[in-house]
C-alpha cells in the first residue's frame, strides 16, 4: 500500500519559503509547457494535412485509378476501395472471434485458463505490426503462391482481435450481475441470456471496441507491404494483390514526383478524416471516459 511520506520535516517551517514557491511555479510552468510542446506537432500534422491535401482532393482523385508516371491527374479510387475491401475481410474474421473471446473471458473466464487467455491477448496486442505481416505472409501468401487481399485481411484481423476481446470483456463486466440473475430467474437459458441480455445491454461499449480496433488497423501499412502488396488497378478478387490507401500514401511519399507527393497528402487527409470520424463517433457513443491508444 502507499508508502508513508517521509519528508514531514521539510514542510514544517511555517511560511512557505521563496525557494519552494519558485519551485512550485516553475513546475507548473514546465508541465504547461510540455502540454504545449505536445500539442504543437499534433496541430502541425493536422494543419499540414488540410493545407496540402485539400487542394488535391477532387472528383477525379476520388473516382479514377492512378495515371502512369509523368501524366498529371488520376486518383486513388482503387486504393480507397481496396482499403475498404481489406478492412471488410479483416472485420468478417476478426470481429466475431474477438467478441466471442471477450464473451468467454467475461462470462466463463474467471479462472486460471481465462487469465492465460487474457494475458495472451495483451501480449498479442504488443506484437509489432511488421511481425504480423511476416506471419500472414507465411500462412497465406506462401500457401496461395501470390500476394492477396486475403493475406492483408488476415494480418489486420490478427491485429483487431486483442483490442476487441479486451474491450468486449470490460464492457460485459460492467453489466450488473443482477441483470443476468433476473434473466435466469425468468427461465432464460444461459446462452440466450448472454446474447440477448448481457451483450445487448453492453452493445454500445462493444461497438466502441470494434471501432477502436477498426481505427487502429485502418491506417496500418507495415503488415500490408508483403501481404496485400498494392496494385495500380482495380481488384475485387480475394486472391489477387490489392491496393490500399496507406500503401499508396507510402509509395507516393517516398517517390521523387511532385504530382505523387500532392496525391499522397490528399490520400492522407482522406485517411485521417475517416479515422478521426471513427474515433469521434466512439467518443460520442461511449459518452464518457477517454479513448486510449495504448490499450
Amino acid at each position: 500500500m502507499p508508502e508513508t511520506v517521509t519528508a514531514t520535516s521539510d514542510f514544517a517551517a511555517a511560511p512557505i519559503s521563496l525557494w519552494r514557491r519558485a519551485m512550485n511555479s516553475w513546475a507548473t510552468l514546465a508541465a504547461a509547457a510540455s502540454v504545449v510542446l505536445v500539442l504543437v506537432p499534433l496541430g502541425a500534422v493536422f494543419g499540414y494535412l488540410v493545407y496540402k491535401g485539400i487542394g488535391s482532393i477532387n472528383w477525379a482523385f476520388l473516382t479514377q485509378i492512378p495515371k502512369p508516371v509523368g501524366e498529371p491527374g488520376g486518383g486513388m479510387a482503387n486504393a480507397i476501395a481496396g482499403s475498404a475491401f481489406i478492412l471488410l475481410i479483416a472485420s468478417v474474421m476478426g470481429v466475431p472471434i474477438g467478441i466471442g473471446a471477450g464473451i468467454y473471458l467475461a462470462e466463463y473466464g474467471r479462472n486460471r485458463f481465462g487469465d492465460l487467455v487474457r494475458f495472451t491477448a495483451d501480449v498479442l496486442n504488443g506484437v509489432p505490426s511488421i511481425v504480423i505481416g511476416i506471419v500472414a505472409y507465411g500462412i497465406v501468401v506462401l500457401t496461395q503462391k501470390h500476394f492477396s487481399a486475403l493475406a492483408g485481411g488476415v494480418a489486420l484481423a490478427i491485429m483487431m482481435i486483442p483490442t476487441i476481446t479486451r474491450t468486449t470483456e470490460e464492457m460485459l463486466l460492467l453489466v450488473p450481475n443482477a441483470v443476468r440473475e433476473a434473466a435466469y430467474g425468468l427461465g432464460v437459458s444461459r446462452w440466450r441470456t448472454t446474447l440477448s441480455i448481457t451483450l445487448r445491454t453492453a452493445t454500445s461499449g462493444v461497438i466502441t471496441g470494434v471501432m477502436l480496433a477498426f481505427a487502429r488497423v485502418a491506417g496500418e501499412t507495415a503488415p500490408l507491404l508483403f501481404t496485400a502488396f498494392g496494385n495500380q488497378y482495380w481488384n475485387w478478387k480475394m486472391n489477387q494483390p490489392t491496393a490500399a490507401l496507406s500503401l499508396q500514401i507510402f509509395t507516393y511519399a517516398i517517390s521523387p514526383f511532385d504530382e505523387w507527393h500532392r496525391q499522397a497528402w490528399a490520400g492522407a487527409l482522406i485517411l485521417i478524416v475517416l479515422i478521426v470520424a471513427a474515433v469521434s463517433a466512439v467518443r460520442i457513443v461511449a459518452g464518457r471516459g477517454m479513448m486510449t491508444g495504448a490499450n
Binding site: 519528508a7 505490426s129 474515433v279
Partner: protein
C-alpha cells in the same frame, strides 16, 4: 454508459396463477448452453493459437539463418545479400539508439502532460486535453512518416541540425553533414508517437493514487508541486516506469514512420545526424524483394528477435503497471 439502457420490460400479468411465460422464447436446453460455451471457448483458444502460430511461423522461417550463423548473427555488422553474409548488428543498434533517443525526448514531456492533466488544469479542460493528446495515438504511422519527410526533415536540415552542430558538436553526437534524414529525425518522430502512450498510462497510475495521500501531504504544508512529487509521483513511480517501458515496446516495433526518415543504411555511426537502419525497417524494405532462402530467413530471424524482445518488454510493463493499479477498480478503456 452501458447500464443506462432499458433492458426488456417484463410485463407481468397479475391475474394468472399459471406458470409465467418465458420472457424470451428460448428453451432451457443444456445442450445449447454447452454448445455456446464451447463456441466461446473456441474463440478464446483462437487467441492462444494465434500467438502459438506466430511463434511457430517465425521459428520455422528463421531456421535456415539460425543454422548458418547461430548467435553470431546478432553480433556481426556485415549485411551482404549478394554473398549471403548476414549480420544484424547495425539494425539492433539502430533500433536501440532510435528508441532510446525517443524515450529521452518523450518521457519528460509525457510526464509533464500527465501531471498537468491530472493535477493542475481546470476541470473543464481535463477531458478535451486528454482526448487531444491521445488523438496523437490515432494518427497512422504512415501519415507521421509523410509529415516527417516534408516538414520535420527540412526543418532539421535547415535549422536544428546546424544549430546542434555548432553548439553541441563537441559531444561527438552531432557531427557530419546535416542531411535532415537520419537517426535524429527517427528519434523525434518516434518520440511524438510514444508520448500519448506514456502519458495515458502515467495518468492512469496517478489517478490510482488515493486522494487521501494528496490531502495528507497538503495538510503538512506542502506546496502543490511538493504534493505531486512526494505524494503522487513517488507512489506511482513503478507504474510510470511501466508506461515508459510500454512506450519503449512501441518504439522498438514501429516501422513505417521510421523507415521513411531514418535513411535506411546499415551502418553504425556515432553521430545522430548519420543515417541508420532499424530491425523493423529492414524487414519492411527488403522482405518482398528478398531473393534466396537464406536472405528471407535472415529477415524472419530479425522479426523473431523483435517479437521476443517486444513480448518481454510488454510483460514487464504490464507487471509494473499492475503493481500500482491493483486494488483500484479497472478503468474503462473506452
Amino acid at each position: 454508459m452501458t447500464g443506462s439502457q432499458p433492458i426488456a420490460k417484463p410485463e407481468l400479468v397479475p391475474n394468472s396463477g399459471l406458470q409465467p411465460e418465458p420472457l424470451l422464447n428460448a428453451g432451457n436446453s443444456a445442450v445449447a448452453d454447452n454448445i455456446f460455451h464451447l463456441a466461446m471457448l473456441a474463440c478464446g483458444l483462437c487467441v492462444l493459437a494465434l500467438v502459438a502460430v506466430i511463434l511457430y511461423e517465425l521459428v520455422k522461417g528463421s531456421e535456415l539463418s539460425w543454422h548458418a550463423f547461430g548467435l553470431k548473427f546478432f553480433f556481426q555488422s556485415e549485411w551482404d545479400p549478394v554473398n549471403e553474409q548476414f549480420g544484424a548488428l547495425p539494425f539492433v543498434y539502430g533500433t536501440l539508439v532510435s528508441s532510446l533517443l525517443a524515450l529521452v525526448i518523450a518521457v519528460p514531456l509525457a510526464i509533464g502532460v500527465a501531471v498537468f492533466i491530472t493535477e493542475m488544469c481546470p476541470r473543464r479542460l481535463k477531458g478535451p486535453l486528454a482526448f487531444t493528446t491521445e488523438l496523437l495515438a490515432a494518427i497512422p504511422s504512415v501519415i507521421y512518416g509523410l509529415w516527417a519527410i516534408f516538414v520535420l526533415v527540412p526543418l532539421l536540415r535547415l535549422y536544428v541540425e546546424p544549430f546542434c552542430a555548432r553548439y553541441l558538436g563537441w559531444t561527438g553526437l552531432f557531427e557530419g553533414p546535416p542531411y535532415g534524414i537520419g537517426m535524429l529525425a527517427a528519434g523525434i518522430i518516434l518520440a511524438i508517437m510514444v508520448v500519448p502512450i506514456i502519458s495515458s498510462i502515467t495518468r492512469e497510475v496517478m489517478t490510482a493514487v488515493p486522494q487521501q495521500q494528496r490531502e495528507a501531504v497538503l495538510a503538512l504544508g506542502a506546496t502543490r508541486w511538493e504534493m505531486i512529487r512526494t505524494g503522487v509521483l513517488r507512489n506511482a513511480r513503478a507504474g510510470i516506469m511501466g508506461g515508459i517501458i510500454l512506450g519503449l515496446g512501441r518504439a522498438l516495433g514501429e516501422t513505417m514512420a521510421v523507415t521513411m526518415v531514418i535513411g535506411n543504411r546499415p551502418e553504425i555511426a556515432r553521430s545522430l545526424f548519420a543515417p541508420g537502419y532499424t530491425m523493423a525497417s529492414v524487414i519492411a524494405n527488403e522482405f518482398s524483394e528478398a531473393t534466396g532462402d537464406t536472405y528471407l530467413s535472415a529477415l524472419i530471424e530479425i522479426g523473431l528477435a523483435l517479437f521476443i524482445v517486444t513480448i518481454i518488454v510488454n510483460i514487464l510493463a504490464q507487471f509494473l503497471v499492475w503493481t500500482v493499479t491493483r486494488g483500484t477498480p479497472a478503468r474503462s478503456h473506452a
